[in-house]
Amino acid sequence: MAEEYKFDNSVELFKRAVEVIPGGIYGSKAPGFVIPGSYPYYFRKGKGCRLQDADGNEYIDFLCGYGSQILGYGHDEVDDAAERAMRDGDLLNGPQASMVELAETLTGQIDGMDWAVFAKNGTDTTSLAVSVARVHTGKKKIIMARGAYHGAANWCSTNVFPELTDREDVLSFTYNDTEELSRLFSENKGEIAAIILTPYHHPAFDRQIMPADGFYSTVKILSEAEGALFIMDDIRCNFRLSPSGSHSFFGVEPDLVAMGKSIANGQPISVLMGKQTVKKTAGSFFITGTFWMSGMPFSASLTTLRIMREVNLIDHLNRIGSMLKDELESLADEAGLKAEISGAPAIPFLTFTDDPDLYINQIFCSEMTKRGIYLHPHHNWFISYAHKDEDIEQTLETAKEVFKITASML
């Protein structure tokens, strides 16, 4: 058996961090989001699907920079494109041609979308989408699924303080519960600006849920009757379900689509796209940021999109993801555990039946991570183009041992 990893450097860095950074590490990267003692907090470098932490431990990584590294860490072609833009000055007095080229590429590629506004993070674009919807409809209320993540802005995050009123006009319903959704529309008739949904439900700390039959048609009927916009938050699934947008995969027609994460293989850029009908409203907003016109992400994104088309990315992700799912479930069964991989093949998440509080999941994922396979215990995983058959085989070999260890610890 391989020696288990130690995380001394991570812990030391964290101790230094809490002295000068509130909380040490914030948000979803904080130690409390994983299992302290079993996971690294700091990292040095990554290449392909391999990652090295601050202690020099190496992993086959299934988090992919929270989904961003869709082609793999340190992709040479993408990084070369970004580097060329960097050497050309990167951040100039205004945008470069690459911004226009990217908007043209995306409007040509993403189903039903006629324009693109670029920002940096997913939160920028989901928040802009909500603002655009409110101004466009002249209404305030937003409907979202309970437990869905749409970013770190106060209107949708866990930052619930009496002083912050951003959530007052945000209503939530249980995903797939069309009765509750209908009731919300009915009780708030004439007040709803938009419904925002992820392509399917991928909450943290829970199994993933696909849209039920008829769910999206109900959303369409209700939102059209209300005159509310339909916002698709495609930040996380982005390009792992369809090259034409995840809404295309499910055959739905949102008014606005927010994208980010994988669009430039780790370079900081996000985009809000929309239908022609909403373009004028979007254009009436004053939006910008010092670094929003930086050339590197645009160049990286153009290269990423081209490579994704050339390599037939979706087929690869589905094949690798299905291999992981089928074999993991089978290996768990051999060890006497009942595991289920939920979600799309390229965005899998493992849970165990009769383990609603994730105790077994936490043991399994921790033991895997301490043996060099980085599996998040509370957040869905991601497959990238850099994951090859041999990486999955090594993962499964480790999982075979760890399922047995997990079973023995129960």
């Binding site: 964290f14 101790k15 130690p31 409390g32 619930v160 509080d357």
Partner: protein, 251 residues
């Protein structure tokens, strides 16, 4: 709010003193009475002493032999901080004098543990730690149930049981259970599987954390404090704990 926190924690500590402290055990042996606290137009709560046990009773002063009635919350806080206070003792029992004297003896034992001298702490470390854990949970309960500032965050905490444990010390466990908007503190494991568990590496870590000698965030990062199970439940406690610290810092 401060009165809720202080009186709730004080009564919780009295309950535990009955389990841990020989002086209190001797004082309550063969005694049976109820002492109530009430604030005009506000909080009512009492402690029942019977069968060598002390039981906090929320929301009622029914059956109390003595009720300390305060015109405003601040006067109750003064009493609980050991300061001079204005209150009206309502005597409903012929033994009222003995009840008041007995209550004074009981409450005088709280600082012996909470502000323990080094020698005492050495000899009673485990008991002190257990009391600190339970008092903190009781404080969390009071804040969670009564503080409007944290109400919206409390609403977001999933229902269920959180257990606080000390590694390799099965007896050192306390629990807090959330059900809707109410919280219940239990000072022992009751056989039910908790939904989330917070484990201290050892009793020393628990003691240091609840006496403010180590930072909770650092303790979590160094895994001196470990969490497992339904993590959002534990994460939900942190802002309440922060708020509790705010109240506890008020003189």
């Amino acid at each position: 709010m401060l009165a809720h926190v202080k009186s709730g924690s004080a009564f919780q500590l009295l309950q535990m003193l009955a389990e841990e402290d020989p002086v209190v055990q001797e004082e309550i042996r063969n005694k049976s009475f109820i002492l109530g606290l009430s604030v005009a137009g506000g909080m009512k709560r009492s402690v029942r002493i019977s069968d060598s046990r002390i039981t906090p009773l929320d929301g009622s002063v029914k059956g109390a032999g003595v009720i300390f009635r305060f015109p405003v919350y601040n006067e109750l806080n003064n009493l609980l901080s050991g300061k001079k206070t204005k209150m009206l003792p309502i005597l409903r029992s012929l033994a009222a004098g003995k009840i008041i004297a007995g209550f004074k003896t009981l409450t005088s034992r709280i600082p012996v543990y909470i502000n323990a001298e080094p020698d005492f702490l050495d000899k009673n470390f485990r008991a002190v730690t257990r009391m600190l854990i339970c008092a903190a949970l009781r404080g969390i309960k009071e804040v969670a149930e009564n503080d409007s500032y944290t109400a919206a965050r409390v609403a977001g905490i999933p229902d269920g049981i959180i257990a606080l444990q000390v590694e390799n010390d099965a007896g050192l466990e306390a629990r807090i259970e959330k059900s809707g908007s109410s919280f219940t503190v239990t000072t022992i494991a009751d056989g039910r599987i908790p939904n989330a568990v917070l484990t201290f590496k050892d009793a020393d870590t628990a003691h240091k954390l609840f006496t403010g000698k180590i930072n909770a965030v650092v303790a979590l990062g160094t895994s001196d404090v470990r969490i497992r199970g339904r993590i959002p439940m534990i994460q939900g406690l942190f802002p309440i704990l922060d708020r509790l610290s705010y109240y506890m810092a008020i003189e």
